[in-house]
Symmetry: C2
Subunit: 275 residues, 2 copies
């Protein structure tokens, strides 16, 4: 018998992935969580029916969401990751000398499943420089009295527990906890299949931060054409001079040239952003 | 009743597109041809079960495959398009002043269906500057005594009638019919889901041409992460100075900056190309 997972991406299209076996399945307090072994993408973590990370292409997403802000900042020390319970973003952030990371994940099962089944990512969460906090990122940041150099919003799609991570109130709190030269990055979905979200987040962030920039990549497993990350910054411009000191030569996706090229937007995306 | 088309992309994944109606269907001498109205992508042309072009995102593919070589060449006049029977590439090439286009499409039904159901593309094939030749591109080029400035290999996937368009023998014939400062571009599939093809074409072209460069985009309807085009050139380097004279301001994807950024490759793609 062939086993296929059906991933409903929009009402107009869905994707079938051939499955070798189900490694783990749990109905957590927050969502349906599965770790599957697929034919095409290696092991994958699925939340509420949508693939979040895969062994074969997670490096693209994680190198971009971590290194774009961390090389834009000349001396990042205090880093806050909201979400990212799989550990991939923390793993990349740890490649920057001197960083200290807090990671706030709402669902402890994501952390445990990643450590057990996706250790290439989850392993980073055992590093002593990473403090894992199980809790609601929105509540955490509202009460937070600490200041950060970089906040990374590594959320799942804007459904279920992640909805509030795309809201104006949340972004204002992130602005409050950033140092006066701090910056944030957020994953902001596909410009082809979720353009209203991208447009809305962009306008909201422009009301709060002096500098807002969108960069592009493509995440094969998301099957959505381009994928966007949005940077909102108090001082440093990610499209300007970036730090090259401490550059790791082992990256599979990120280079300073890839960083710069990612911010070159075609007119149809500028139109979505009203730029 | 809901109608869904299932597109088998690899043995490990397939995509379901919700269909509003079937506009046209024909078993031609060469392939199964369908024009469908989809929920997500507008009208689409499907060959042997794979979406080739869609109304909503065809501009990305066609602007890249036409303008990357045509702005690399300082004075393109004679242009040969192999495949491209939908007319989208010809429409973009016509935006370059002074060009004269020959287009060799093997399947007359593709031309007729595009003119009738996708006139935004097919309409270009009625332009007096475009000579449409119905025939086998491989045979045509073997017998061809004319010389061209730019050859655009706008093929379908390397199955069925397009297999020979990815072969060394064919590329040697293209080299022969190019002027001494001519160049070719070919669509060369996804680096994630068809990396062996990309690697093979790259090595083959490097044996024939002094300059071979790969550029990236992402075509949403192909649902394959990045998409590659490979340029092989006798003189002009598409990563060097490009022509800005005659630049059309109405493009939705192409700009000189997008052109340059598209050639910045992440290490994982350089590894596929052994660069």
């Amino acid at each position: 018998m062939e086993l296929w997972m059906v991933e409903q991406n929009t009402p107009g299209y869905s994707v079938n992935w051939k499955i070798k076996q189900t490694l783990y399945r749990e109905t957590t307090r927050f969502q349906e969580l599965e770790v599957l072994e697929t034919e095409e993408l290696g092991r994958v973590m699925v939340l509420d029916g949508n693939i979040q990370v895969t062994e074969v292409d997670e490096f693209i997403y994680h190198e971009m969401i971590a290194h774009v802000p961390l090389y834009t900042h000349p001396r990042p020390r205090e880093v806050l990751i909201i979400g990212g319970g799989d550990g991939g973003t923390a793993r990349e952030a740890l490649k920057h000398e001197g960083v200290s990371i807090e990671l706030v994940e709402i669902d402890p099962s994501v952390v445990e499943a990643s450590k057990r089944y996706l250790p290439q990512m989850g392993g980073a969460l055992d590093d002593p420089r990473v403090k894992v906090i199980i809790g609601d990122g929105i509540e955490y940041i509202e009460k937070c009295q600490k200041k950060y150099d970089v906040v990374i919003i590594d959320s799942s799609d804007p459904v279920g527990p992640a909805v509030g991570l795309f809201s104006e109130g949340f972004y204002r709190q992130v602005h409050r906890v950033l140092n006066e030269d701090g910056l944030l990055i957020a994953q902001t979905e596909s410009p082809s299949f979720n353009r209203d979200l991208l447009a809305g987040v962009n306008q909201t962030l422009k009301d709060i931060f002096p500098l807002v920039r969108v960069c592009l990549t493509s995440i094969p497993c998301y099957l959505a054409g381009f994928w966007t990350f949005t940077v909102a910054s108090k001082r440093y411009d990610p499209t300007g001079e970036i730090r090259r000191a401490g550059l790791d030569s082992g990256y599979r996706y990120y280079t300073p040239e890839v960083h710069q090229a990612a911010f070159v937007l075609p007119p149809f995306i500028k139109a979505i952003l009203r730029e």
